[in-house]
Each structure stands twice: as structure tokens, then as C-alpha cells.
Amino acid sequence: MNFAIIGLGKIGIMHAAMVRNVPGARLAALVDRVPQLGAHVQSMMGTPAPFFTSIAEALRHVPLRGAFVCTPQFAHRAVAEECLEAGLDVFVEKPLAHCLEDAEALLAARRQCPQAVASVGFMKAHEGHYEEVGRLLQAKALGDVQRFEASCYLSQVFAPKKGWIYDRSRSGGGMVINSTCHLLHSLLRWFGPVRAVTAMCHSIHSAEVEDMAAIELEFANLSGRVATSWSEPGYNVETSTVRIDGSTGTLEVNDRALRLELQQPAAGYEAGVHVLPRAAFDRAAFNLSPGYGGEGYYREDEDFVSACRERRPSRVDWDEGLAVQRLIDAIYRSQGQRIELTEESQS
């Protein structure tokens, strides 16, 4: 099956490398508006994939099954809609869009093409140790889950910066929409729809976007806090930590390990403390960067390719992308006020 990579920045290069190694997939087209970027990415390849400056041009020359949309998020809607109209299956990098309006429009477009596979790149959903947390929660290994504490930190912004990421009209926001969205997606997957949000976002260095946020999330039967910042020293790599407390156990997961403390045997674990390295759950056959989410990149691409072949929904569909977008929108609107979200708006 032939696939195209649209948008040849860092993430586009990462997906190009993955697609070349996922069984059953063929990297058949590179697409970007900048020809020099195309030549640069082609020069990374032993046998370069053909380069095109538009999707239409690529479609004229190569029969494509699907496309990976790796452009900045402000361009996701236009590019993804064009792909859907061309009958392609579409993988969109996270977040689904830079604003709720575009994300909702994408879902509407997707409803016009129900046969299309539509995936969004929340890669933590494909990381083995996060999957294990989901399995443990589903098996009620911790008993009744009562509370969680989560954080996502990165050392990236310590002075005003330039570029589309720091321009709210193009990125949609700062740390929350660009990085914390992965963690928010995992929380939605584990705990279900959010009932209410109370959040405070702060700009320390950036003029237009938030550098940090303190978020309180209320789910059906539990609540918890998320602290996040990209202006925190000591985090060269984006680092997420989640602690979940239940009536019969506690769980802590970060980017290196899963720590489980059980009062009684559950879900295949004996009672006691278990500290398991992340590597114990890594199922990626190829990993370009274990420290930078390489497992998730490979497995999300593998899932998308499999879904295209088997004509089934991908594991992380655009519906989930829209749910995250609605949550992010509420976080930005909150400004310290409690905002209630209906379940229908997240399903």
C-alpha cells in the first residue's frame, strides 16, 4: 500500500522513517510546498521517494492509499479535507487542529467519508506501559480509583521565542495544546469523559501563548490535577508522570517505568510493590528514538497501516481527537472558572 507524507518538518521525517519500516507500507510520495525541503529529505534516503509540491500533483503520479498529515496544526484542516476528498485514508498528527472550529469541521468532513480510516497521532495510546495502565484500570487492579495527580514538563521556553508554535493564531496555544495534549488524551482514555474543568494558564516568557497551566479535571467518579509547563528546568525531554490512587492500590507511571503497589493480587500481579521498566512493555519492532516517543511513533503508524489494510477504524480515531480538542478549548476558556462539559460533546 502506498502512503504519502505531507509536511516535511521533523515530525514528517520521523513518520517517513517509520513508514519505510512498517510491514505492508510503501513510502510513495513526499509532499511539501518547499522544494528545498523535499530535496533535503530525499537526500536522507538511500532510494529517495518521489517529491511533489502539492497533494494533487502527487495523486496525478502515484496511486495512494493514505496520507500522513505532518504539517503545522493550522494547516491540518485544509490538507486533511483535501485528502479525504481524494478518497485517501488520513492520519493527522496531534493535535487534530489548532482550534475547535477546525477540529469540528474535520469531523464533519470525515462523516461524509465514512469508509475512510481517520487516525490522529496521540502516540502515548500506543506505548506499552500506558496500555498496561489502561489494562490495570479496566481490571480494577487498584480497586475504586479515587484521585490522580499528573504532570507534564519540558525545558523549552526561557525567553520570548519566535515561530508558529508561539503564535496563538497558528498554534492555538502553548504548552497545553502542543505537548500536554498527549497526557490529556491518555486521561480521557483511562477515565472517560470529563465532567468539568477548572484551569489557570500563565504566560511567563511568551507573549501570546501559555507557558504553564494548572488544571483540575473532574471525571464521573474521580478528580485530579494536571500541572504542566515548558519553562521548567531539568527536562530536556518532555516528561509526563501520572500517579493514580485507588482503594486497594497505587500506580505511578512515567517515561521510564511503571510502579505498582497492590494490597492484594490483581490483574496478574502479586500483592506488593512492582517496579517495571518501560522496556518491559515496549512492543515496537523498530524504534528510532526510545527517549523521544519512538515506540509510539512506530506503533501508531503500524496501526494506521493495518487499519487501512483491514478496513477497520484505527485505534485512535478523530472522534478522540475532537474530545481532546474540546477539553483543551475548555481549559483555555476557564481562566479559573469551573466549566462543565456534557458527555455528548465528548463522544
Binding site: 519505510r20 537526500s43 536522507m44 532510494t47 506499552g128 531539568g234 490483574a267 517496579v275 517495571l276 518491559a280
Partner: protein, 288 residues
């Protein structure tokens, strides 16, 4: 080609500003040895004190991808290169300038093999005084070229390390079982490979079996890395796989562990045939 590898090499990927002082104390207490670094400033600052650089042999892992990507995110690819250029001494700057002139077309076209060659020159300028006898290509670059099926660029890099820097070239990888067959297919000989080896298959991609099958035919030296603590079963497994050296890489190195790694992790006294299964590690886990 250098002689025997040290049994254990001190890794520095987990050293940050909070434990820089403990690195210095460790270097003094351990006396001498070999240290593997990507050339981060914290490690150089520790090595410059006293006669540490004379007592510690330095192996290089280049390019420092994480640092470069961070700077490229902030300042663009050329901006990141310019910032690194400004940190170089005039002699290295001149050498790099000459290389740039000779490759000006490739630079202007942003040809990746050309940029990689210049980036390695840029990074290795930091290492000139330490004269590393072994230089590994960073796993993110090895594996990127592997993923992109670019054997020619890999070969060019190995030649640059051997001839340009006078060091034994190595490839660090997180995809051993994919890399070695591809190297055979490309006809590329690599003297040493740095990779994860673990009896529970941690970090062994695409599978432990595939990696072991490849290692049976590999004639170079294996330097093993580990994400988990060293224990008897890992040591036995490394012996079974004829590991030459291992990387002890923790945030705060201590002498007791260092000695354990030197006596337990490397296999000269107990060579076993390849492929023999090691004793199974007892894990505390019930699943996964």
C-alpha cells in the same frame, strides 16, 4: 584498531547539572578508566579539572542529536550550526570553514550526508584534545540512516571516523536485529556496535531471537547498554553473547557499583559459546 576494550565504560547520558559534582568526585575516587560522552558541556567541565583528562580515556558518541535538535527547534538548522560554530576554537573553525568551502554545493542544497559530515566535524572539534580512540555514531543517526536505507551515508560516516578522526568507528543502535543484516547486505564492516542486550529482551528489536541470530555471525565487538540494574542473569547473558564491554550509565555513579560492573558484567574469564541461553531473570512482575 585499539587493543582490548575496557570491561566497563562510564556512561554520561544521565548526568545533569544536579549531579555534576558527584561525577567529579567519582572520577577522582575511581582513579582512571574510560568514559563515553556525547560532548555535553557538563562532562567537559568535570574532565577539565585537575588531571582527570589524563587519567580518563574518552570515547565519543556523536553527533549530540538531542542538543542539536533542541537548538534547531529554537534557532533553525543553520542557526543551531552557527551557535555551535561560535563555541569552537579558531583552528577548528578554520578546518570546518575549509570543509564547508569544499562542500558548498551540498550545504546549499541541504544535502543530508554533507550536513552530517560537517556536523561530525563540528562535534569532533570538541574532542580534539581528548583524542578518543573509539567514536560511535549516535543511535538516532545510525537508526535514521538504517530506516531510510542509506548504506552509502553510513559507510561514508564510518570512513570519516576512521580516516578523518583516526578512531575506531562504531555504530550505536536501538535496532540491532535490523541493522546487522542490512550491514551485511550493504557489505559494510563495523568494528563495534553499541546496543541493548537483556535476557528479558528489553531493547532488543525486532526480537531477542533475531538479535541473537545476527550476533552469531557478527565478527566485531559488542558494547552492551542496560536500562535496568545489573544482576547475575544479565551478566550471564552478556557472557553468553560475548559482550566485550558494557556501559555503566546512571545519574550518580558510585564506586561499589562501578566495581561490580567491572567484575560482573564483562566476560573475559568465562567465555561461553554464543546462543547458549542464560539463566532466566526472576522478575517481580506477573504480566507484561
Amino acid at each position: 584498531m585499539i587493543g582490548d576494550f575496557p570491561r566497563c565504560v562510564l556512561g554520561t547520558t544521565r548526568i545533569d547539572s544536579t549531579n555534576q559534582a558527584s561525577l567529579g568526585s567519582f572520577l577522582d575516587a575511581a582513579g582512571q578508566g574510560t568514559l563515553l560522552t556525547d560532548g555535553g558541556s557538563l562532562v567537559w567541565e568535570a574532565l577539565r579539572i585537575g588531571d582527570r583528562l589524563r587519567r580518563w580515556q574518552v570515547w565519543a558518541m556523536v553527533p549530540n542529536v538531542a542538543g542539536y535538535v533542541r537548538e534547531a527547534t529554537d534557532f533553525g538548522m543553520f542557526g543551531a550550526g552557527w551557535r555551535r560554530l561560535r563555541r569552537m576554537n579558531p583552528l577548528s573553525c578554520g578546518r570546518l570553514f575549509l570543509q564547508g568551502l569544499l562542500n558548498v554545493r551540498g550545504v546549499l542544497r541541504r544535502d543530508f550526508p554533507t550536513l552530517l559530515r560537517l556536523l561530525l566535524e563540528l562535534e569532533m572539534a570538541n574532542f580534539r584534545r581528548a583524542r578518543p580512540p573509539v567514536v560511535f555514531l549516535h543511535p538516532q543517526i545510525t537508526d535514521l540512516l538504517l530506516a531510510m536505507d542509506h548504506g552509502q551515508a553510513l559507510q561514508q560516516t564510518l570512513t570519516q571516523i576512521r580516516k578523518g578522526f583516526g578512531a575506531e568507528p562504531g555504530l550505536a543502535t536501538n535496532n540491532l536485529g535490523t541493522l546487522l543484516p542490512r550491514l551485511y547486505a550493504w557489505g559494510i564492516d563495523v568494528p563495534c556496535v553499541l546496543t541493548s542486550l537483556h535476557p528479558q529482551s528489553y531493547g532488543m528489536r525486532p526480537s531477542r531471537q533475531a538479535c541473537e541470530d545476527c550476533l552469531r555471525h557478527f565478527e566485531g565487538r559488542i558494547v552492551a547498554t542496560l536500562e535496568t540494574p545489573l544482576n547475575a542473569s544479565v551478566a550471564a547473558y552478556w557472557r553468553s553473547q560475548e559482550v566485550s564491554s558494557s556501559v555503566y550509565d546512571v545519574a550518580e555513579p558510585n564506586l561499589t557499583q562501578w566495581h561490580d560492573w567491572q567484575t560482573g558484567s564483562c566476560p573475559k574469564e568465562a567465555q561461553q559459546s554464543r546462543g547458549k541461553s542464560a539463566e532466566q531473570e526472576v522478575l517481580t512482575m506477573g504480566a507484561g
